[in-house]
């Protein structure tokens, strides 16, 4: 079976518009969660968000798209990260056209990020808006496919908060089964009234910046962004610089509740074990876990339990959502990239704002910057609908 290498990465979130800016933010402990500047909502005053610090117009300007009125914020965020990833991997326009190049994206809000316009169009109020043909979850995927003439398999996944982790999974399987030589994988989501009101109705939004794994945590902070990785088979990567190897992935369903995880962490334990089995290593070789760590009472307690069940000696773990907020569909691929930054730089970044760790377990997340030799890292993503996915990456020497 073909090995799978990461040969390119691109990311945009509240803490940076490039992968390098993300590294700098992690090293300096910069948090992107604050009062929203561009998101218009009654909650813009009351809550804090991991908002990408640019207006829709600015984002379009960076990407030469100001004339295209039908392009949504989700699409332009996706495009920004996509371009960085293919540039980083040196994928030519010609290679993108090949039927051996696939593109697997993901989003939860997709093209429905402009709630007011969608309301008018769905209820036939007034003239159709600019976005009348942009609402589907796959809208950003198809626009990017068309812009770059992508010739191979194209897909969009929505498994809620684990969406882009499953895009990585799907892309990896395309390479392993010989259906593609290279796959651009990831996801994008923008802050929208739809999701903000949805999470608010579930009463899991924190008023202040989220405090993952803190005993007194009070919910999650919504973020936005996009992140893409270029996966290539060993043959396709050739002598190219290999950033990391994707060694294992596991997918399971918690089969417990539509919007919470089971107390005994059935789904998370399964997905982590499946990823370990595929990697073929014992748990004690995992040097760092990038946790799902949303900051909700339910997720963090359950995930801590899962980590303490799987690992006899708990490896360092953190939630980088304490920097970026929860970027929903983008979280899986964004956190895969942040995990790889830790791995390749041999650096562990503190989980922000965890003052008194969860009492029910002995373990606590990383609380200060540490330099440490890292070889294997795990990234977890769990979503509504019980969708759990774990990924394991290792260094390329």
């Amino acid at each position: 079976m073909q090995k799978i290498f990461i040969t390119g990465m691109g990311a945009i979130s509240s803490i940076g518009s490039t992968v390098d800016e993300h590294l700098n933010a992690l090293r300096s402990g910069k948090c992107g969660i604050q009062k929203a500047r561009f998101f218009k909502s009654r909650y813009a005053e009351d809550l804090v968000f991991g908002e990408v610090p640019f207006s829709d117009y600015q984002l379009k300007e960076f990407n030469n798209l100001t004339s295209q009125k039908e392009i949504t914020r989700t699409t332009v965020l996706a495009l920004n990260a996509f371009k960085e990833a293919i540039h980083n991997a040196g994928i030519s326009a010609e290679l993108l056209k090949s039927d051996r190049t696939a593109f697997i994206s993901s989003s939860t809000v997709g093209g429905m990020c402009y709630t007011d316009e969608l309301y008018s169009d769905a209820n036939l109020k007034g003239e159709p808006s600019n976005y009348a043909r942009s609402y589907e979850g796959s809208d950003h995927t198809w626009r990017i496919t068309k812009m770059f003439n992508i010739g191979g398999v194209v897909d969009t996944i929505n498994t809620a908060c684990s969406s882009s982790a499953n895009a990585i999974y799907m892309g990896a399987r395309l390479i392993q089964t010989g259906r593609a030589d290279r796959v651009i994988v990831g996801g994008a989501d923008s802050i929208a009234k739809y999701t903000v009101n949805g999470f608010n109705s579930l009463m899991i939004l924190s008023e202040k910046a989220c405090k993952p794994f803190d005993e007194h945590r009070s919910g999650l902070s919504l973020g936005e962004g996009a992140a893409y990785l270029v996966l290539e088979s060993e043959d396709a990567a050739g002598k190219k610089h290999k950033i990391a190897e994707l060694n294992g992935f596991g997918n399971s369903n918690d089969a417990f509740h539509p919007s919470t995880i089971s107390e005994n962490a059935i789904g998370p334990i399964l997905s982590m074990n499946l990823a370990l089995q595929m990697t073929g290593i014992k748990p004690d070789l995992i040097d760092y876990v990038n946790a799902h760590g949303t900051g909700t009472m339910n997720n963090d307690l359950t995930e801590t339990r899962a980590i303490n069940t799987i690992f006899k000696k708990v490896p360092p773990y953190n939630s980088t959502k304490s920097y970026t907020g929860h970027t929903l569909a983008a979280a899986g691929s964004l956190e895969a990239i942040l995990s790889i930054l830790s791995l390749n730089n041999n650096e562990l970044y503190p989980s922000l704002r965890c003052e008194s760790p969860i009492k029910a377990h002995q373990s606590r997340p990383i609380f200060e910057f540490v330099r440490k030799e890292l070889n294997y890292v795990m990234s977890n993503s769990f979503g509504f609908g019980g969708n759990c996915t774990s990924l394991i990456f290792s260094k390329c020497i």
């Binding site: 996944i157 997918n251 369903n253």
Partner: protein, 351 residues
């Protein structure tokens, strides 16, 4: 990948043998809503009340399959839009209550992965679970995902594979202003020969048990291919390439299942496809039964499986040129000339 069992909730009475045995419904309006089974045996009343139509009909089609087959190892779904009625109901509340205090039911039910999650929950299935939302190719991507999962399995493994799409007034409106539906009323049995722009709207849930084990299989999915943004020359080349990759020539195909939807702007693609085959090639349509919706190639696969098993002879609703029970079927569907797919299906023991 072998297809072991199947079930469909559609605008025809497909959850019993009624439709297969020859009865079909002619609709005089452009919205073809599903004929739903009684859910009382399948879904507890307390759960049913809170379920949107997509989740409800998906469970109605899927749960009996899960219950009557060996334990499945996972669930793979395709849906372009998921539970739209709930989605836009929630959206309407956001606007009408100015983002006030809202109840989460609509939000949780509206996420496209709600069906796969609910099915996992109701059948206590902790296995592989993915939902593809790739617009008009969402079901094709779900097939590909299932194929890859089964290829990677060393033991006897099976999955629930399916697709769901619901009509709501809202998505009907959105597609209407996007120019996707006919402005004049047309009966579904006149759809294929229509000479105007747009199609008529349908919905449905179609579910399959797929397995890497050939025992008692109803059909075998040989392969599939997606093509995006092609020109017409591409299509012919890509068809030939697809057949060659699967060791076939055009003469090996016994029957084409065509996705004609009566939209005069795009139905010429099917004429082009037929021209790649011998003039006497047999073919049938399917959207005259269920209308147009993003994942209706799942219904085409349901139809193909029944045809491979000798059904639908002398069915009075069949349109096309169909005489002999086929052994190899090519399903071809396209959406607005932009997204195209081939699905190659065979009877499990051809020749």
């Amino acid at each position: 990948m072998y297809l072991k069992d199947l079930s469909s909730v559609s605008p025809q009475v497909t959850y019993t043998e009624e439709f297969i045995n020859g009865d079909y419904i002619i609709y005089s309006k452009n919205i073809l809503s599903v004929i739903e089974p009684s859910y009382s045996e399948i879904i507890p009343a307390s759960l049913l009340r809170r379920m949107g139509k997509a989740v409800r009909m998906g469970i109605g089609a899927a749960l009996p399959l899960i219950e009557r087959n060996e334990k499945i190892n996972g669930i793979v779904m395709g849906t372009a839009n998921g539970g739209l009625e709930n989605c836009i109901n929630f959206l309407n509340q956001i606007i009408e209550y100015d983002e006030g205090v809202l109840t989460p039911t609509h939000f949780v039910q509206s996420t496209p992965n709600a069906l796969a999650g609910q099915l996992a929950l109701m059948s206590k299935n902790t296995g592989y679970n993915v939902t593809h939302v790739n617009g008009p190719l969402a079901f094709e991507n779900a097939i590909l995902d299932a194929m890859m999962f089964l290829e990677g399995a060393s033991n006897k493994t099976s999955l629930l594979l399916g697709a769901v799409e619901e009509i709501s007034n809202y998505n009907y409106n959105i597609d209407l202003i996007a120019g996707r539906y006919k402005l004049e009323n047309i009966a579904n049995n006149d759809l294929i020969t229509s000479q105007t722009n747009g199609s008529i709207c349908g919905e449905g849930a179609t579910m399959f048990i797929v397995s890497n084990d050939a025992n008692d299989a109803l059909a075998k999915i040989i392969n599939l291919k997606q093509i995006n943004f092609p020109n017409q020359i591409d299509l012919e080349q890509l068809l030939n390439q697809f057949l060659i990759e699967n060791d076939l020539i055009p003469d090996d195909i016994d029957l084409l299942i065509l996705g004609n939807n009566g939209d005069v702007q795009f139905d010429s693609w099917y004429v082009l496809l037929r021209s790649c085959f011998p003039a006497n090639m047999e073919y049938v349509y399917y959207k005259n039964f269920v209308g147009e919706f993003r994942t209706n190639s799942a219904f085409a696969l349901f139809f193909a499986t029944q045809l491979l098993n000798g059904r639908f002879h002398n069915h009075k609703g069949i349109q096309g040129n169909f005489r002999n029970t086929p052994k190899t079927i090519l399903i071809y569907n396209q959406f607005e000339g932009i997204h195209h797919s081939f699905i190659l299906v065979q009877s499990p023991e051809p020749e």
